[in-house]
Every structure is written in C-alpha cells, then in structure tokens.
C-alpha cells in the first residue's frame, strides 16, 4: 500500500504535507479500513500550560502507530491509550483530560475539575455491514431495523421473489444468487455482522460453513436449540474450527420472548448492538425494581 518514493513524472504531484497525509489516511480508513482514531484537541486552556492547541491532530492507527502530534509526556500517552481503547467500542466521543493525563468522565466531574484539555476522538472505519442471509419475513425485519440503526444492509437469497429491491428498498445491496458462491465472493471483515435466517437449516448450515472462519464481528443463526446444535455438530465433523463455532450466536438474539418476525428482528439487532458496544444485555434498572425475578 506504500506509494513508490518517486512517482512517474506524468503522475499528479502527491501532496505530502502532514494535513494532506492525515486527510488521506482518514479517507482510506473510512473506505477500506483498518480502523484508525482521529484525535483533535478542541479545548486547551492556556492557563494549564500544556503544549497543545485547539486544532492539533493526531491519528492513532489500530496497531498503535501514530501520525501527527498532540501534547507530550503523560498526557500524550494517555490520549494514545484512550484512542486505542475506543476502537473496539467503535466510539466517537470527546474525552477530557487533566494536564497529568488523567481522564475525567461525566459533565459534573468535568465542571468540577475546572480547566481541562478536551480531545475529540473519532474511530474512523467502514460502515458496519449487516449481511442478511435469507430474505423472508425475519430477514426483512432484520434488514429494516439494521438500516434504521445506520448499518449498511446487504440481503442475499436465491429466490427472486425474496431478493429484490422492491422488497428491500432500505438495503444498500440485494443479491439474488447461489448462497455458497455469493458468500464466497462477499468481503467479510471485523465490521461485518452476519444474520442467518434463510428458509431452512440446510441453507443456514452451508452458509455458516462459508463465513464462520473468516473473522466477522458477529454471526448469528436462527433455529431451535436442538436444531442449531445439530448444525454445529455437522460443521465440527466437517472440520470447521471449534473456536470459530464457539463464537456463533445460536439460537439467535436476546431473550425478550420475541414471537413475531419484527420482535425476533429486534432481539437480533439488540444482540448485535450489545456485541458492537460491549453491553451486558441486562435491564439498566436494579434487579427486583421494575422486573420481578419470576417474569
């Protein structure tokens, strides 16, 4: 990916200034990944005497490499540390720091601390892709809620009646074709979420075999406990790695006693958000307050 040192003379001159390299790195990360974190100083009170000014920029790459500079010493180290921690959370947030590099969270705590250095940290990465395998009722609702959540929705089915843009106006891509070959050709990365809700467990099984070892962020497969266990056993017998199979969410979704396709889709997307943001899946209210234990 490194450009040649001396571009041919007929090529447009490449702007190698730091802002240009930063802008190019951000554009590349937003299109193809891997993720990086763009850090911008948005507040740096002079009274603090830190070597940071509003507008200073630092890129922190997923492997810890950096481009640009913000502050120095403990503060610089803290910013880099917080930036790396933001990647798995896909976070976009403003973090407040003391000159010594201690992060302060919460509006009140920040106000109490008085002058703080504030850094806008944005994880830049390709949009999360939601690949829905199966365009039936559940698949349609899954795609619809996924689109609502801002995911880039792709739907795959081998039946034209279930894989067309009239049925999925909110999808970025609708693929009508053979499950195995289309899945083999589909790019899968750490920002790809895959939901297997096809017309039958045989299709789900062959689809799962095609995607499970390729490092997706999430794979979930619909079905009863018994049936999905059989599918996993088949794949284990076929030699699919146990650690990959152990990461399959099946039966799919959070337990909210979902019944309708729309409710099932809600349970599935809730599970996906949980995986994406690192939640617990529990109600935020204390146990026994609103929900009694025997519900």
């Amino acid at each position: 990916m490194t450009p040649p040192d001396t571009p041919p003379s007929d090529m447009p001159r490449v702007d190698e200034s730091l802002p240009a390299r930063i802008a190019q790195a951000i554009l590349t990360a937003s299109r193809d990944g891997p993720p990086l974190v763009s850090c911008s100083v948005i507040a740096a009170p002079e009274a603090l005497g830190v070597a940071a000014a509003i507008g200073d920029k630092l890129l922190v790459f997923h492997d810890g490499a950096t481009l640009g500079e913000i502050a120095s010493g403990a503060l610089a180290a803290a910013i880099r540390h917080e930036a790396l921690a933001a990647i798995p959370r896909h976070a976009v947030e403003t973090a407040a720091f003391t000159p010594a590099g201690d992060r302060i969270d919460g509006r009140r705590a920040i106000e109490a601390a008085g002058d703080v250095i504030e850094v806008l940290m944005e994880v830049v990465e390709p949009a999360a892709t939601l690949l829905v395998v199966g365009g039936g009722h559940v698949g349609r609702s899954v795609g619809e809620i996924g689109a609502l959540l801002g995911m880039s929705v792709v739907v795959l089915d081998d039946r034209e009646d279930y894989a067309n843009t009239d049925r999925f106006p909110f999808a970025d891509q609708v693929i009508c074709g053979d499950f195995a070959s289309e899945l083999d050709a589909f790019p899968i990365n750490a920002n790809t979420y895959i939901v297997l809700v096809s017309r039958g467990h045989k299709v789900d099984e062959l689809s799962l075999a095609r995607v499970v070892t390729r490092g997706p962020a999430y794979v979930g497969m619909i079905g009863s406990k018994r049936r999905t266990r059989t599918v996993l056993e088949h794949l284990a017998t076929d030699g699919i790695r146990a650690d990959a199979l152990a990461r399959v969410f099946t039966p799919i979704g959070l337990d909210i006693r979902a019944e309708t396709p729309e409710e099932i889709a809600l349970a599935v997307l809730a599970e996906i958000v949980l995986v994406r943001r690192g939640g617990s899946g529990r109600p935020l209210s204390p146990p026994g307050q609103a929900l009694s234990g025997d519900i």
């Binding site: 702007d15 730091l18 240009a20 802008a23 937003s30 299109r31 911008s40 948005i42 509003i54 507008g55």
Partner: protein
C-alpha cells in the same frame, strides 16, 4: 457516521489547499438531530457538504464557519436548541458542541 462524500471533500480541500471549514459535532446533551461525529464541510462560496442537523442550529454554525473562513481560529460553538426561536416549535431540544476547524490553508504553520 459521516458519508464518504464528506471525507472525500475534506481530502480534496486539504490536498488542493482550497479554503474550507470542517464542522464536527463534538458532544451532545439531550435530544439533538445528529449524534457526535456528524460532519459538515463549508466551502468559501457558502455551499456545504454533509449535515450536522438540518434546520436545527445549522445556520448558527454556518455563520461561525464563515468567520473561520475569513481567517478566524479553530473553535467550539455551543448550539443551544432548547430555546425555541420566534414562531418555531421547540423541535430538537438539546445542546450540541460543534468543533470548527479550517481546512486547506496551506500557508498555515503545519
């Protein structure tokens, strides 16, 4: 998440040295039309790419952006959407802090 169009606009403004201002929602409190990270690039002719929330507060940010374009420094603008403007309903209701930074000033010390 900002659209590809916005990142491409930032990249071309910086590379071409074309003066423009990038507005990014840095923080929100309460109900706001766009979330943290939403971006808008304002060009010198006043046209813009991307959105930080349509009618709600965008005009205010655009005004500040024009000032940055005239040589003003990077800054944070706090947009309070809790006060209804004359004759308008209180639609949005939150507060957002928007970070404005100049792009494409190749003469700047960077």
């Amino acid at each position: 998440m900002p659209s590809d169009e916005v990142y491409a606009e930032i990249q071309s403004a910086v590379t071409a040295g074309e003066p423009a201002v990038l507005a990014t929602v840095a923080q929100t409190f309460g109900s706001t039309p766009r979330k943290t990270g939403a971006k808008m690039v304002v060009r010198r002719d006043g046209s813009f790419v991307g959105t930080i929330g349509g009618g709600c507060g965008e005009a205010e940010v655009w005004q500040e952006a024009m000032d940055v374009l005239d040589g003003g420094a990077a800054r944070v603008v706090t947009v309070d959407l809790t006060e209804p403007t004359d004759g308008e309903d209180k639609i949005c209701g939150g507060v957002m802090r928007v970070f404005l930074e100049p792009l494409g000033r190749t003469t700047a010390a960077l």
